[in-house]
């Protein structure tokens, strides 16, 4: 009789629990979108979260591990507490210290609730048996205990600090950008130890052969000329009137930002547009006239067919080069890379066409690429520094198979 009553009570409660749990899993799945877990932990065409492609860091290669709930090769033996501690402090199951290529210095700002939701989702992912040798760093960096010292110098567990003087929208944007979204992992310059330089937060940084541009509101190199709408459109579709996402950002748009909600994208835009930065606004010295003349000829013979004689481009198909943020960065790495290797726009529901730029590495010598980029960076109101043929040679070498 007692058992029957208990059973009936259970029956009554279970659907409620299940609904709560489903809700938590869905919220957790959205945290995985914000955090772009798949961006690193899923191989292109591979099973979700079963391990990714190697990350080439300045210190050596790290392979994003299998984080499916597989007991042998994934994180099936982890407890929620293990997961929470890893996200907050970079110390995982059995006290294993993670390398900060895993952006726990950003994830540490996530709320306990969001981390708990994310864990609820992680337990529902299909377990995949795939052994990943994550640590491929050279000695002595391969000693994970070294991260104890690194953390001591560079990291402290933190929570997101809301600014009560700012709007709820601004604070939501700040929370996403500094926390789960971990924008600074690519866009903030690093110290020689690979830690974020907080004084240059989001002002642009070089990594994996790409230069992640300044995304503060800086008028010249940052988002100063972009409206909030422009920022939202870019993150949602990968393209706006100023730029088309390429390289790692194209992947971030595909896996993460294009799946964020409109209010969250708006919040991110409001926050990024509020970030001031006054560095890098000096007008670059006037480029050498002979190089500009050669660059103009190269531009008209190779680039103007799509980007137009005046650099204005053509809507969402061919990006404008006037005030383009990739053109405007002090570091020409991404620009050189796009000219040498080509680039393809990302596929999103909002912009499904995926126009691509062809590789010009076979046709243009280093000096010619340098001259045409110097011309583009010094024309139509653009004022970014000249590019040297050594800059191009370095990128070409990196691209060589």
């Amino acid at each position: 009789m007692l058992a029957a009553t208990a059973g009936a009570a259970l029956l009554a409660i279970t659907p409620v629990l299940a609904a709560d749990q489903a809700d938590q899993i869905i919220r957790g799945q959205y945290q995985a979108v914000l955090g772009d877990c798949a961006g690193c932990h899923t191989r292109p065409g591979g099973k979700p979260l079963a391990g990714g492609l190697p990350l080439e860091t300045p210190f050596g290669a790290l392979v994003p591990p299998n984080i499916t709930p597989d007991h042998e090769t994934g994180i099936g033996n982890w407890s929620e507490t293990d997961f929470r501690n890893m996200m907050k402090s970079g110390v995982g199951h059995n006290g294993v210290r993670l390398y900060p290529a895993m952006p726990y210095p950003a994830y540490t700002r996530m709320t306990e609730q969001d981390i708990s939701n994310l864990w609820a989702y992680m337990t529902t992912v299909e377990p995949v048996s795939n052994k990943v040798e994550a640590n491929q760093l050279p000695f002595p960096l391969n000693i994970r205990l070294a991260m104890w010292g690194w953390n001591l110098l560079n990291f402290s567990e933190a929570s997101f600090q809301a600014d009560p003087s700012k709007s709820a929208e601004w604070n939501r944007g700040a929370y996403i950008v500094q926390g789960a979204g971990h924008c600074g992992t690519c866009h903030t310059p690093k110290s020689f130890l690979g830690a974020d330089q907080d004084s240059s937060f989001l002002q642009g940084a070089s990594l994996q052969g790409w230069f992640a541009p300044d995304i503060t509101n800086n008028a010249q190199s940052g988002l100063g000329k972009w409206s909030e709408e422009d920022v939202v459109t870019y993150l949602k579709t990968g393209v706006n009137a100023h730029s088309i996402a390429s390289g790692p950002m194209a992947e971030a748009v595909e896996n993460s930002t294009s799946k964020m909600t409109d209010p969250d994208l708006k919040a991110v835009a409001v926050y990024l547009k509020s970030l001031g930065s006054d560095t890098g606004n000096a007008q670059a010295p006037k480029p050498d006239e002979a190089r500009m003349a050669a660059g103009e000829a190269i531009y008209h013979d190779n680039c103007s067919a799509c980007h137009g004689g005046d650099g204005a481009g053509a809507g969402a198909l061919f990006p404008t080069l006037v005030g383009n943020s990739i053109v405007a960065q002090g570091n020409p790495e991404t620009l050189a890379r796009v000219v040498l290797a080509g680039s393809q726009a990302v596929h999103t529901t909002g912009a499904p066409t995926t126009p691509s730029m062809p590789s010009l590495a076979w046709r243009l010598k280093d000096q010619e690429v340098a001259d045409v980029l110097t011309y583009v960076r010094g024309s139509w109101g653009n004022s970014a520094p000249a590019v040297s043929s050594d800059d191009i040679a370095a990128v070409r070498k990196e691209l060589a198979p």
């Binding site: 003349a293 067919a305 080509g342 680039s343 596929h347 995926t354 590789s359 046709r363």
Partner: protein
């Protein structure tokens, strides 16, 4: 007794036609629908191999001397342009004969070989490489017997007269070579060498394009399409580039 009208619908024929229909219907349902990005890879390109002049890959020195003398009469040096030899027409032909053109590797080359109409072009069994080898030898043999000289040793007026006679079919070349047909091949290939992109070995310094005002390997003229009756302002550009791309220091 007209058997074409008496196909009987046997049980076997009926079944196989049903099977055929099923196969067709099933394959139709396998039509692929592509979604996501279009196929693309970084650093991908398929540019033509750039011809480097110097040396001969197909011609013997004797053949090369003959072809250079001929292309220099088909495109003589004058006020308008350099001659065909200097423009690299013989180099162009030499490299083409070692490639797919020379061996007809992209054409159907099996029999039957029947005489065609004049509009049908060459219908014989030999590929261009074989036609050049035999044709050039037969010109040498013919002139040696008639004049005791090679083509290159003739006066320009005599060279022109001989080529005109070839074209008109008034020369009986040995080894069964039909003079008008072989002259047509030489003329065609010389023009190709003179007017094609310099990347293929001829049209040195884009000489023919500069002569004509042809803008070269460009593919978009939006900035100029509404400028009627104005000459196009930019110098020509080759697949291999342009001298305008060099930084000029005075």
């Amino acid at each position: 007794m007209d058997r074409h009208n008496t196909v009987q619908l046997s049980r076997r024929l009926f079944l196989s036609s049903v099977a055929m229909f099923t196969v067709t219907a099933t394959s139709a349902s396998f039509a692929r629908s592509l979604s996501g990005s279009l196929p693309w890879a970084p650093m991908s390109s398929d540019p033509p191999m750039q011809v480097v002049s110097g040396g001969w890959q197909f011609f013997t020195p004797q053949e090369a001397a003959l072809v250079e003398a001929i292309v220099d009469r088909i495109v003589p040096a004058d006020d308008l342009s350099m001659g065909g030899k200097e423009a690299g027409c013989a180099v162009y032909i030499d490299r083409q004969l070692t490639g797919a053109f020379g061996t007809s590797s992209r054409l159907y080359t099996q029999g039957p070989f029947l005489p065609g109409l004049p509009t049908q072009g060459y219908q014989g069994e030999a590929n261009p490489a074989q036609r050049y080898r035999v044709g050039l030898a037969s010109i040498d043999a013919f002139l040696k017997q008639r004049d005791g000289k090679t083509f290159a040793e003739l006066q320009p007026a005599d060279q022109d007269a001989f080529l005109a006679a070839m074209e008109a079919g008034k020369v009986d070349l040995p080894n069964g070579v039909k003079a008008p047909g072989f002259f047509g091949l030489l003329l065609q290939n010389t023009m190709e060498g003179f007017f094609a992109d310099p990347v293929y070995g001829g049209n040195k310094d884009m000489v023919s394009w500069r002569m004509l005002g042809f803008p070269g390997a460009r593919y978009d003229y939006r900035d100029h399409v509404s400028k009627h009756n104005q000459p196009y302002p930019r110098p020509p550009v080759s697949i291999e580039g342009s001298p305008e791309w060099l930084v000029k220091r005075s």
